[in-house]
Amino acid sequence: MKGYNFAYLDEQTKRMIRRCLLKAVAIPGHQVPFGSREMPLPYGWGTGGIQVTASILGRNDVLKVIDQGADDTTNAVSIRRFFGRTAGVQTTTATAEATVIQTRHRIPEKTLREDQIIVYQVPQPEPLFRLEPSRQETRRMHALSDYGLMHVKLYEDISRFGQISISYDYPVMVNERYLMSPSPIPAFDNPKMDMMPALQLFGAGREKRIYAIPPWTRVKSLDFDDHPFRAINAPHPCGLCGATDSYLDEVVTDDRGGRLFVCSDTDHCAERRAAGHVGNDGFKEAAE
């Protein structure tokens, strides 16, 4: 695109972000400050993720962008088109074809490979921010690996609700050292981060922090011995493709209590349907 550098950001900014990425990869789970730039979209729409993606994108990369698992929502479509225009890279909706996947709030159902990078958009990088208001103090807690407070929060959940009630942004320990916010992905996706073959990068634009999990790194969701972590999901098969092992969205279909549970990962669902899998509501949709 004329008048713009490749992938929108200028080369100096990309170098600065890459240096931060290297440091972040070297210290898994540690939040590295970076000079976040103004991007042509508002904070909260993925400014952190888009800057990380811009810095790692090469001409031969194939980009996939998902928002809550879907390739066809506003945020995903806009960011995919943004890079299509400013970098001219090939884009795709197929998880297996992508080399770089920028995501908001989900990890694709298909297992990622070593030659893929997943970039998370992060609204709040500090896992302790609701518990300890002072950033100086939370930094000290990270430095001293002093994470009793996070367990106090889990204790409170169990004593109040009988179980740990965090359903998304479930805190994890990375490489048995740093407490990390996995960005607001559902707790269902947490186990996928553990020993993932792909490189995981996290960018928080408003908070100006970058962090990372290198491939094949241990990621453990916090829990108690007698209240182990468990992934929560709706107890239904997908209405369209019949999948029982994927994360489901609940879609209200009418004002008489009708609802439909479908895969939140649209690519996963479409692929299964193309392979001939049909859910209970799938026929109905085809018939209408």
Binding site: L149, H151, E156, S159, H227
Partner: protein, 258 residues
């Protein structure tokens, strides 16, 4: 007294600008002993407590702490993580205002359990049992375990703070006016509780108070401070019944029936 001390301060000096807060202070504390530091406001009691506990660095002088393995540590030369660990396990700090120590948005059980969890306890049932046990020891009803501290009275808050501090069985506890701001009957009950817990668990305590009666009731030894100096020190009864230094005489005579 030739037995090894638990905590020793030597030649402690600290001034705030032109105001000397500590002048050549030497302090010794033996295991299981309760030492009261008394004196008027501004005499440097709380400063001494903060220096001894490593929360504030002195201008000169050292504080030695003997750990359970008989190793001596210079408290102010310790790395920050080690000092933090000490404060979370072997040591405790009881503030005058329990709100400084407690997490007001966290239930009583969570408050008591925090130090255990910071030490790596990861079994919910055990943590809860320990919390219930400690609430019983400080005479808080077990049914209040899931209540927030803000629903507690002043005396209960102070007892909750003590439970939270003692849950890890510290060897040394620093207390800054633990009974200040409580009414007399609540004070008496709290003093009783502190005395029985401390003697049963054999905890060494450095207690700062301006209340001579509190020192008389709790402390084995007493140190009297005036303008940053320790002017007199000795066994509590000895010092209070037969004060030598003019300032101590003044202090004792100013209290009714001390």
């Amino acid at each position: 007294m030739s037995a090894p001390t638990l905590l020793s301060g030597r030649g402690l000096k600290l001034s705030f600008g032109a105001v000397p807060a500590l002048v050549d202070v030497d302090v010794d504390l033996w295991p299981g002993e309760m030492l009261a530091i008394v004196g008027e406001s501004g005499s440097g009691k709380t400063t001494l407590l903060n220096v001894l506990s490593g929360r504030k660095a002195p201008d000169s002088g050292v504080v030695w702490y003997r750990d359970p393995n008989d190793h001596l540590h210079d408290v102010h030369a310790m790395p920050a993580p080690a000092l933090r660990t000490l404060h979370r396990s072997d040591w405790g700090f009881v503030h005058q205002d329990p709100r400084e120590n407690l997490r007001m948005g966290v239930s009583a059980g969570g408050n008591v359990g925090e130090r255990l969890m910071a030490q790596g306890a990861r079994h919910y049932g055990n943590i809860r049992d320990a919390a219930l046990d400690w609430l019983a020891q400080v005479e808080i009803d077990a049914s209040r375990i899931d209540d927030l501290p803000r629903t507690f009275s002043g005396g209960m808050l102070q007892r909750l703070q003590i439970a939270r501090t003692l849950v890890t069985h510290p060897r040394l506890v620093f207390m800054d006016e633990p009974t200040g701001g409580l009414d007399v009957s609540v004070q008496a009950r709290l003093l009783d509780l502190i005395r029985s817990l401390v003697s049963r668990l054999r905890i060494a305590v450095v207690l700062v108070t301006h209340d001579i009666a509190v020192a008389r009731l709790l402390a084995h030894r007493i140190a009297v401070m005036q303008r940053g100096r320790i002017v007199e020190t000795g066994l509590t009864d000895q010092v209070l019944d037969d004060p030598h230094h003019p300032y101590t005489q003044l202090l004792v005579s100013s209290v009714l029936n001390a």
